[in-house]
Amino acid sequence: MFNMTKNVVANLFSKSSTRLYPIAVRGHFEGFRGTLHINIDECIFCRTCMIKCPSQCIAVDNKAGTWTCEAMSCVYCGVCVDVCPTGCLSMSKEHRPVATEKQTMAYQGVPKKKKKEAAE
C-alpha cells in the first residue's frame, strides 16, 4: 500500500519539471517540421508540391504566378519540401502561430519566363 509515496515525496522536494512555457521557451529540436515558408523568388511554379501534397492544400497557378497554401489544412508532413526541385520551400522549426481567423498563405511571384515560353 502507498507504494507511490516515495515518488510523490521526492517530487515535493525537487524542482517541478514544468517548463513555464510562454515565459521560458525551450524551443523545438533541430529538424522539427514547423512553419512552411516559401522563397517565392526561386519558385518555378512547377506544381510538384501541389501534386504531391497529401492534404492537397497547396494551389499553384503557373500562369498567374501565385502560390497559395491553406495554412489551416497543412498537415506539416514536409513532403512538399522534399519534392521541391528548386529548394525554395523550407520549414522553420517554430510551430505556426495560432490565429483567430482562418489564414491562407498567398504569394505572388513572377512566373518564370522559360516555363512560360514552354507553355506557350
Binding site: 519539471s17 510562454p22 489544412s73 497543412c74 498537415v75 508532413c77 510551430h95 502561430p97
Partner: protein, 147 residues
C-alpha cells in the same frame, strides 16, 4: 467592483472541456499532454473539467463528421455564456487531410463559431497553450479590459 473581480476571475480561470470530434488522437494526446507536468496548463488556472456545463472554453480536436456534428452543437449549447471555442489541429481548423472523405463535414467552424484556430498536425502542446492565451486575450478585449 464585483464586476471587475468577476472579470479578473474570467481571465484567470478558464475551465476547458475537451471534445474529440473525430480526431486521429494525435491532437487529443497533445491536449492531454498539456495537463501533464511538463506543460501543466493548470498554471493558468485551466482545469480540464470534462463537463460542458462547468466549462468556459471548448477545445475541439478533429474533423466534424455526420454523426458527431449534432453532438458538437449540443455540447456547445450546454455551455453557459461567456464561452469560447478553440479548434485544434488541421482537422479542427478545416478538416485537414480528411476534407474530401465522404463522412466528413469539415472544420469545426461549419457547426459552431470558432474563436481561435490552432494549426498543426498535430498541434503542439505549446501551440495549444498559445491558443488558450489567445482566446483569453480575445475575451479581455471583449470585456474592455486593458491588457
Amino acid at each position: 467592483m464585483l464586476g471587475n473581480l468577476i472579470n479578473q476571475g474570467r481571465i484567470k480561470s478558464p475551465w476547458v472541456v475537451h471534445f474529440d470530434c473525430g480526431s486521429c488522437n494525435g491532437c487529443d494526446i497533445e491536449v492531454l499532454a498539456c495537463l501533464t507536468p511538463l506543460y501543466d496548463i493548470e498554471r493558468f488556472g485551466i482545469l480540464n473539467i470534462g463537463n460542458p456545463k462547468h466549462a468556459d472554453v471548448l477545445l475541439v480536436t478533429g474533423t466534424v463528421n455526420q454523426r458527431n456534428k449534432h453532438v458538437l452543437k449540443n455540447i456547445y449549447d450546454q455551455m453557459p455564456t461567456p464561452k469560447a471555442v478553440i479548434a485544434i489541429g488541421a482537422c479542427g481548423c478545416s478538416g485537414g487531410v480528411f476534407r474530401e472523405a465522404y463522412n466528413v463535414v469539415g472544420g469545426v467552424d461549419k457547426v459552431i463559431p470558432v474563436d481561435v484556430y490552432v494549426p498543426g498536425c498535430p498541434a503542439r502542446p505549446e501551440a495549444i497553450i498559445d491558443g488558450v492565451v489567445a482566446a483569453l486575450e480575445k475575451v479581455k478585449k471583449l470585456l474592455g479590459m486593458t491588457a
